[in-house]
Amino acid sequence: MTTVETGTPTAAVPRDAAPADRPPRRETGVANVFSHGFLLLWAAMTILPLAWMLLSSLKSNGEIIADPWGLPEALRFDNWARAWTNAHIGRFFFNSLVVVTGSLTLTMLLGATAAYVFARYEFRGRQVVYYLFVGGMMFPVFLALVPLFFVVRSVGLLGTWPGLILVYTAYSLPFTVFFLTAFFRTLPTSVAEAAMIDGCGHFRLFFRVMLPMARPGLISVGIFNFLSHWNQFLLPQVLIPGDGPNRMLAQGLSSLAVSQGYAGDYAQLFAGLTIAVLPVLVVYVAFQRQIQAGLTAGQLK
């Protein structure tokens, strides 16, 4: 996982900033060994659990119980096959993918349109509607859980993907709108005015001019939303109850863990976890710069 080397951000520091004749410091060597030790320790603490998970997914159950630190004698990929078919991890993975694709598309579309109106159009009551909308960020999802269950049931969407997609979207909108409104406000008005003078309509202006200009903001908030939808556990747990085949990946993994407790099939659980982690790891390594920027921008609202 350390193969992708991107430019060190600190490399941007002007190298000529320090006077060349500064005397060398004696604390530096000791402090460096000390601090590097801690950095390495934490890196090991992060990698070790994941490496262990991967290794254990390739061991037999006997090997896992006998020696947690031991290496597998043979690479048992049949654990993965078992998790994929018997525990339906493959199907749950596909379910999550479909739902998140839907919810992310809907969130971005509705979030961008609402934010654009809030940022660019004056109308009576705009402030009130905006704060009502964005105020949703302040409330813990917990508070809504019980009534939400009955709202979704009463519109006939309990246990369905469209229900989940709408709920994911609804709870992501406040932050998305907040973030994108701020972003649309920073875009120059002159481009929009020029387009209008050239006879561009309001709708065309949005889809052809403003939306492409807002791309960086859309990407940041999109990554943020993707991860929060993909990792959602509480909402599907309540809104797709039971143990049907249309559950999300997180639910599938947690019931795999429960059944592992009875059946003692450790290897299958580790294989299931590994299957769930690997795609995330690949995407993360490929887009780490955007993901880190997107998530940290998301928190600094």
Binding site: L110, A170, A250
Partner: protein, 303 residues
Amino acid sequence: MRHGRLPLILCFLLPPLAIYGIFVLSPYLQAFQISTTDWLGYSAQADQVGLANFRTLLHDGYVWNALKNNAILLVVVPVVTIALGLFFASMLTMGGRKGRAGVTGVRGTAVYRLVYFFPQVLSVVIIALLWKEIYSPTSGLLNGALRAVGLASPPAWLGDPRFAFWCVLAVMVWSNVGFYVVLFGAAMQAIPRDIYEAVLLDGASRATMLRKITIPLLWDTIQVAWIYLAIAALDGFILVQLMTNGGPNFSSDVIGLRMYDTSFGSENKFGYASAIGVAMFFLTLSVAVLALRTARRDRIEYS
């Protein structure tokens, strides 16, 4: 120019507002109403009981026990996570060899960031299940290591009421530190280098530099981090539910799990569960306000 303005506003605003109203606003409002009833779930029968649920809440030993754990999380998780985050971030941005290159990070900064941040993109469910296995008394990574260094009977961790809660807390810190390393690192990059170089020339040590320069300049970011971690600590539900389910003997219970159990778990007391939810809401709100108030300082702008 005004032609087409109103259709756009309506088209763009009404669908999101409708979804938001139905699935967010109305449940929140209903929650407050349900919290004053004795609704027992799937029957329509519900009587107004006024504030009776809240009175029960005040004398509910399980709720207080859970709240105590949340209070510990609220203090320990932000302090430890922010301290570690600041320490690692300052190492990565300016812990490097001084002398010829001014203030730089250690070697391999990008790799460290890549590794540290990774738990942040993992689902909490995966983290919880993985660590549950790591803590497993017989087949776990931790006890495997302890036995290897000669400890004959290492503790059962999640099965031991003395340790279970702290084990969950450690996982919470583990999964969060990387994010704050990156967050603080980004904020530190924004601090002008010449400030550090001036201080270094004046002979300040690394610790003084962190305490007198970095932390005051990063105060806004630290404050935000504190609020987020505090809110995360008030939740903590998924980790606890999947790792210990509040046990053994409620030793690792948290308020979120109390509420979930009361409504969708062992009982269906929706009225009472909503009362717990309302109490949680005010708690979260006061924590956020308190954090903002006590942490307020003058903002420093670089010019």
